[in-house]
Subunit: 111 residues, 2 copies
Amino acid sequence: MGVTSSIKRGSAELAILSVLVEEPLHGYEISKRIEEHTGGVLRFNLASLYPMLYRLEKRGWVKASWQTTSSGRRRRCYSLTAAGRKQLPPLRDEWRLFFRALDRLAGVSRA
Amino acid sequence: MGVTSSIKRGSAELAILSVLVEEPLHGYEISKRIEEHTGGVLRFNLASLYPMLYRLEKRGWVKASWQTTSSGRRRRCYSLTAAGRKQLPPLRDEWRLFFRALDRLAGVSRA
DNA sequence: TTCCTATATATAGGAACGCTATATACGTTG
DNA sequence: CAACGTATATAGCGTTCCTATATATAGGAA
């Protein structure tokens, strides 16, 4: 279960934005969400996820706010910004272009 | 034209094996073939291609032989080995798995 | 209460892969 | 002979993801 690192390379960005478009989540939840929604095929190490979130924050595509749960536990809640939401369609377009090109070349979608 | 570097990362291996399964080619031709077959969407720099070919050769998936054209020009002709041909179906399987997972998560194939 | 697991964030160090830049050199066309 | 396309090759860099490690709280099991 879980695809090779080199294959999924570059997909974390789209994956994160895609789960955040539905609702704001904190880092740990984002990781779980991606894993669950793909049946374990897409799975990112938490140590890969946090630096990615900081990059997205720096670009202004997500914004983070510290929360404290009722039990006194701190965590950062990430949500998409307007700029981040705007990035999603062109990102999807590029991935679709790539999918189709590789499919045409290598017959990936053929059973 | 041409998808982002980070997106196509890891696909060179499958792309090369896929064009070589049809007929043996030399490096420069492999590059052109990939570009033509994908309408310019997939495009690998020659400086990325040669190291990849050496890696594939080292793994025993392709074998190279020096040729000299009638005009006295040297070039290396690459062909798939039996081991390389065997790698293709599982590689396609993994890519398909990845495609479907990312599509489910991000709606890539939806127009 | 002690231990284990799950939750939660963070950084250091490294590997893989594709990039730009650069080098060399032959063939063909203008 | 200059310019361009063909052809191979290496050095050095950036990005992205990895493993390993650190810290800390909550809840359940032993």
